[in-house]
Subunit: 395 residues, 2 copies
Amino acid sequence: MEVTTLFRFDIEKSDADSRARVGTLRTPHGDIPTPVFAPVGTQATVKTLTPDELIELGTTLVLANTYHLYLRPGADRVARLGGLHHFMGWSGPILTDSGGFQVFSLERLRKVSDEGVVFRSHIDGSEHVFSPEKSIEIQEELGADIIMALDECPDPLNYEYNQVALGRTHRWAERCQRAHRRTDQALFGILQGGVFPDLRTESARFLTALDFPGYALGGLSVGEPKEKTWEVLDFTVPLLPEHKPRYLMGVGSPEDLFAGVERGIDIFDCALPTRLARNGALFTSHGRINLRKAEFAEVATPIEETCGCYTCRHFSLAYLHHLYKAEEILGLRLNTIHNLHFLLELMRNIRTSLQEGTFGQLKASFLSHYVPVQDEAQRRDNLQQRRGKPGRRHE
Amino acid sequence: MEVTTLFRFDIEKSDADSRARVGTLRTPHGDIPTPVFAPVGTQATVKTLTPDELIELGTTLVLANTYHLYLRPGADRVARLGGLHHFMGWSGPILTDSGGFQVFSLERLRKVSDEGVVFRSHIDGSEHVFSPEKSIEIQEELGADIIMALDECPDPLNYEYNQVALGRTHRWAERCQRAHRRTDQALFGILQGGVFPDLRTESARFLTALDFPGYALGGLSVGEPKEKTWEVLDFTVPLLPEHKPRYLMGVGSPEDLFAGVERGIDIFDCALPTRLARNGALFTSHGRINLRKAEFAEVATPIEETCGCYTCRHFSLAYLHHLYKAEEILGLRLNTIHNLHFLLELMRNIRTSLQEGTFGQLKASFLSHYVPVQDEAQRRDNLQQRRGKPGRRHE
């Protein structure tokens, strides 16, 4: 399948001191200014929010999970109801993953062969098969603007497994490309190869030869040390075509956005900010705070005086603390709005700084105040949420 | 304490064929067109909604629960944070109950004496005392526009208990009146006396002599047969002063609004519509439907084509069914918006019909389509929610 003119990626400016660039990714459902952070709408809803609120937050791309939507309500059903955009009332660009990541979480995996993956549903334990062709069929039924090739997702530190898996990922990429029919969707390839330069190089070479309209870096942010993530980016990004969008899957903490952008990443997604919000953890310019702490019980000021989000314009930390303690749904909403605003606003500031040639200063200034959460704890967070385990009602 | 000119109740028109009337209740935080239905914001939030959404729904009065707010976050804390309006970001009129109903639910009651009630917290089991003076002190700290006298809430069918309790309720009403200091709050008296005409008559006589600015009918909609509720209204309302607002506590199903309005009630509150919404039960012009039913899985139309609420303007029943099955918070929000819109719009239509002299036609037309849920089930619903039990996370 050829990529149609419905898609175009224009790079407007490249940073002089890093691999960062500003651009626009044009899709049938609208333009996406890049670099972009995509909130995660796993089950056809960014948890707790309406589409109107996503627009007010300045969201330009939403991710939805193929695995979850395939199992419930079913991709065929979504298709009969007019496709994912219409179903969830979001008329902007959507990206769906291939379902591979959830399927390859150990608990559900039954058998992998060249043909595909046999797995069990986290909802009712029923058995299902994902092949490259099946993943594409599902994603065509859902109808997202950007869809992903099915890949095998091994432990990034296990060389032998990555070596075997990589061949399969590449053969699956070819089959996904052959199976893909819809001309109003861009199918991205996914590089694998763990933390190993030779495998990542092989993956970059193989997949760029297939001339996908965009490339994702898979198998990262899944438990490996963070320095390794950045090392992989440092040696992999230069192997990718300059004029095509690059997508780092599952990354979305404030400090990581800087690290990804300066290494040439254009697209990020992560459930972390929305999941943290539901656990009472909020981003501030000094780092994360948690509402459960009694110290907030009588704080009459908002999370941050300078924040322009709906939550900070209307409510005190004391009220948010109360909603948290009282387990009120409104608290989950207000926290989600704040955390997404924080990340989306940060990305807008990053974009502006790149246009104005002040990215280095913005990064230095932001990181001089912001104290990141310990790497390990955050990795665990990421891994847990990306596995999409059947968790508590609101996880 | 004298009622100040900050409050005024103007009756604009009385129905020729029933005791119904249209009016305006003026409060320091705005005018309340009556008859009015007040959504319940137990813990300083109408569950799942923002104040902006309440305004969009046309909410003109919100009820908050003294018992819950006293225990968490604490009325003194709310006072230090600027009072309930500021704390929850709702600048319209608020009504607080006395805390009596929750305290008198059997599970928590420890001891009742003339002095007051000893009870245990549903949160941590700690022991507390509500006296008339304490209930007023708490309600003054919260700062609602309309506050309620502390009353004893017996089983409405037990004559002996009602006889004993009524004397206490009356003495407490006098003490509440003496204790009340804030001139920007209207303190309403609460009639008790179960389903017994002689006791209700005694209660009406005693309390009207105290010249409260408004009267509530307590001890109803708590498990008695519905005909009994209406009988009590039929013989009690004529005993109340014509020019003062009448409040029927805990009533809020569509058919009951008609029954209450035609018997001369001006104010209603009920957690039923919001609680039903969180359980997937939705009001329609034909009765209640429940989203859990598989029959809605592929219905591409909204709950009601003619409904003007945000939910019906944007989403299909199929999507709401999916959100319900997937336990997504957005579903709880969208359902709540629809149910509150349904009741508030119905009340607006009732008001207009009274102004235009077509109340009887509206009632006949509405009830010719609307099939109420069996009385008994609904009574149970009401009782359960009014007890304010520590239920599931989102109840």
